[in-house]
């Protein structure tokens, strides 16, 4: 191609020229979309061509070229290089430009995640994906397709803290239900890893009660974990799902989770030995679902629940009596359990080591400290925000033509033409 510029070079020059302002960027976007086929078939394209571009200034163009470069199957060494390239790009790219080509960016990051998993090095992908999520997110309330991928990498690399930082935002808008299920499921698992069972329960509850036509595998796994986490956190098990769960979930979930429901029912009885027997009986099922660790935690939480029950009946009790009632081996173990519970804040008690007596106390929280003021203030602010969101939702529903149609139809019966009717009588679309 001597004497004429190759299509590749025209693309590169246009990228370099048009990456300045937003008006130029939309023009560039159109050019790139048109030129995509030519880029794909161009054999000139090498990794070295990318050196002509600066990822932070020409992010959109860089994105398109990178996408084409990395899409085919690749050998192990090349995979490591491409992973490095993509992670550098994610770190330095410009969020505004990326949002114009968000689909490409999302697919690029998914490919990145797959490569990283193939290389068995999920830790490399955690930080880039965290930045990627923040950059592609339009607002902190919106769920993107990258959230579950990021959480998956965090789970596989066991860095729960990083994943937890994403979970602290309240998600209010969801595009794809599958993303939402995965996000809540992985999020629940991360919270279990961090031992924050309250939040895990909330997230898993969201999956179990999410609207769905047919039961899907994510909801099933989530339900199994949900049962175990309710046992650990609140010590109660109820066989029926919450009322707001979808009808298909209510009908079908239980049939697939019989070992778990048996564990739950046995837990309600309160006998340790029986519970352990049930666990041993179904241990192969638990192993298959990778839930054995969680089940063991549930069993040990039964002791806690029984001790908690004792605080409601007795004012003072000796350690030996506690051990007998809860079926622990000896007073020493009872003392360890009680001490652990006091430290976790689950009960309030005083252990008198001289005569081995435990005295159960009331909750000493008087709600009159300035720390409590801050807690209350933040909670009130959160409720105000929630209220604002609900009002916005209310308004948008009032303008929904579906709603107006139904309301208009009903009003027709009662309107006798007396007063001025503000709702249209027969709203025909």
């Amino acid at each position: 191609m001597i004497g004429g510029t190759s299509p590749m070079e025209t693309v590169i020059t246009s990228i370099q020229a048009l990456s300045a302002s937003s008006g130029d960027l939309s023009a560039l976007h159109r050019i790139l979309k048109g030129a995509e086929e030519t880029i794909r078939t161009d054999s000139d394209l090498q990794l070295s061509t990318l050196d002509q571009l600066d990822p932070s200034k020409h992010s959109l163009g860089y994105l398109y070229l990178l996408d084409v470069l990395t899409c085919g199957p690749v050998s192990k060494e090349k995979a490591s290089d491409s992973v490095l390239l993509i992670s550098r790009f994610i770190a330095s790219c410009d969020a505004e430009q990326i949002r114009l080509g968000s689909d490409k960016f999302v697919s690029l990051c998914k490919r990145f995640k797959d490569r990283v998993l193939e290389l068995n090095d999920p830790l490399r992908g955690v930080a880039p994906l965290l930045t990627a999520v923040r950059k592609v997110q339009v607002s902190t309330k919106r769920l993107t397709a990258l959230h579950p991928d990021c959480l998956q990498l965090c789970l596989q690399s066991k860095c729960y803290k990083a994943g937890f930082s994403i979970l602290s935002d309240d998600i209010l808008e969801v595009d794809q239900p599958r993303d939402f299920y995965l996000y809540c499921y992985y999020g629940g698992m991360i919270c279990i890893g961090q031992k924050k069972f309250q939040k895990a329960l909330e997230l898993l509850y969201n999956v179990v009660t999410a609207p769905m036509h047919t039961v899907n595998a994510i909801a099933l796994e989530a339900y199994k974990k949900y049962i175990l986490v309710t046992l650990i956190h609140s010590g109660q098990f109820s066989i029926s799902l919450p009322k707001c769960a979808s009808t298909s979930a209510q009908r079908n979930l239980k049939t697939w989770c019989t070992p778990y429901t048996e564990v739950g029912n046995c837990y309600n009885e309160g006998k340790i030995s029986e519970l352990e027997a049930v666990v041993v009986a179904h241990s192969s099922d638990f192993e298959k679902d990778n839930n054995l660790g969680l089940v063991k935690q549930a069993v040990s939480s039964l002791y806690k629940r029984n001790i908690l029950r004792l605080t409601q009946k007795y004012l003072t009790l000796s350690l030996q009596d506690i051990a007998n009632m809860v079926q622990l081996a000896n007073a020493k173990e009872a003392e360890m359990h009680v001490l652990q519970m006091i430290q976790d804040g689950q009960i309030h008690a005083l252990i008198n080591q001289k005569d081995g007596m435990v005295r159960f106390l009331e909750d000493p929280e008087q709600y009159k400290t300035s720390e409590m003021i801050e807690v209350m203030d933040s909670v009130i602010q959160r409720t105000i925000r929630l209220s604002k969101n609900l009002i916005a939702m209310d308004e948008s529903l009032s303008c929904d033509p579906l709603y107006l149609g139904k309301v208009g139809r009903e009003r027709q019966r009662y309107d006798f033409g007396e007063d001025f009717d503000t709702v249209p009588q027969k709203f025909s679309m």
Partner: protein, 321 residues
């Protein structure tokens, strides 16, 4: 008509007088222009030369102020209403004397100090009335209340006039001169005036509107306090920066103000204070949750109406799959 008085007398006005005058004015205005019917025909005092029915804002009411004079201090304690005779443009003398006798019996130490009226400025005919009163009190005072409501005005719309003889055009004439005054009150009077001044209209009597009105009052008071503190703070910061020359007396006043805070400082007080604060926060939290729940209820109802699939049994079951 407003040069300052040079008599050297200090005037002290009690809030009761102002309340009386404003009450008199409001009553007459409402009687003249009752809210339900059109204008009534009553014998009302009119301004000189107005002729036909005047607008309600021009109604002038007249009355007498009484009090005590000790040395150079004139203290105006109370007031009562008088009948104005529009034909002769003067106050009804016999009525005044009758009332004076009655009041003398109840308050033996109080004498007639002058008279009051409502309006924006003192007018010509006021001088006649003033002269007529001069035989009871050689130098009466004239209290003028401006009934126009002006939200931007910070001071009280009450002016006190004295009469002085000034030489104008070669003739010695009495004219009104402005006198400064202070507000003086006793504890019992303060409480009762406060109570009366905060009476809410009885038709807005539901607990919710009363609470809302009360809270609005507190809110505006706090806002005013906040803005004043902010002004003071900015002034002090500017002084610190050096934009404004240091004013030591102001600094001393600010320092003494700060030293008098906090009023109570003990552990028990802090305890009680925090507990009450937390209680109020808990109540607001409860109110917020109720509000939120009612919003959610609305949303769910609308959602159900819009998207519920009607099942064959008639009632709508669990909506939306």
């Amino acid at each position: 008509m407003a040069p300052s008085s040079s008599s050297g007398l200090t005037f002290k006005l009690h809030p009761l007088v102002m309340l009386n005058i404003s009450d008199h004015f409001t009553r007459v205005k409402t009687q003249l222009n009752p809210p339900s019917s059109s204008c009534a025909t009553r014998n009302i005092p009119t301004t000189v030369g107005a002729g036909a029915a005047t607008s309600p804002q021009n109604v002038r009411v007249y009355g007498c102020v009484i009090g005590a004079q000790r040395g150079r201090t004139v203290e105006i304690f109370n007031s009562f209403e008088l009948v104005f005779d529009p034909s002769s443009d003067s106050l009804d003398r016999s009525f005044l004397e009758k009332k004076q006798e009655l009041y003398q019996k109840v308050f033996p130490g109080f004498y007639i100090l002058g008279w009051y009226s409502t309006g924006r400025d003192a007018i010509e005919s006021d001088m006649h009335i003033h002269k007529a009163l001069m035989d009871i009190n050689e130098s009466p005072v004239y209290v003028l209340l401006n009934p126009a409501i002006n939200h931007a005005q910070k001071d009280l719309p009450v002016t006190i006039y004295e009469s002085e003889f000034h030489v104008i055009d070669g003739i010695a004439q009495p004219i009104f001169v402005n006198a400064s005054y202070t507000i003086e009150t006793v504890e019992a009077e303060r409480i009762s005036v406060d109570h009366v001044a905060h009476l809410k209209p009885s038709d807005g009597g539901s607990a919710a509107t009363q609470l809302a009105a009360h809270l609005t009052g507190i809110h505006s008071a706090i806002k005013m306090l906040n803005s004043r503190i902010r002004v003071l703070f900015q002034y002090l910061v500017a002084m610190q920066r050096g934009d404004i020359p240091c004013d030591n007396s102001l600094l001393r006043q600010a320092a003494s103000l700060l030293r008098s805070l906090p009023a109570a400082h003990s552990e028990k007080f802090d305890d009680n204070f925090l507990m009450e604060y937390n209680d109020k926060l808990l109540m607001s939290y409860l109110a917020m949750i109720t509000n939120c729940t009612s919003n959610m209820n609305e949303v769910v109802d609308k959602f159900k109406t819009a998207y519920a699939k009607k099942s064959r049994t008639g009632g709508s079951r669990i909506p939306f799959m």
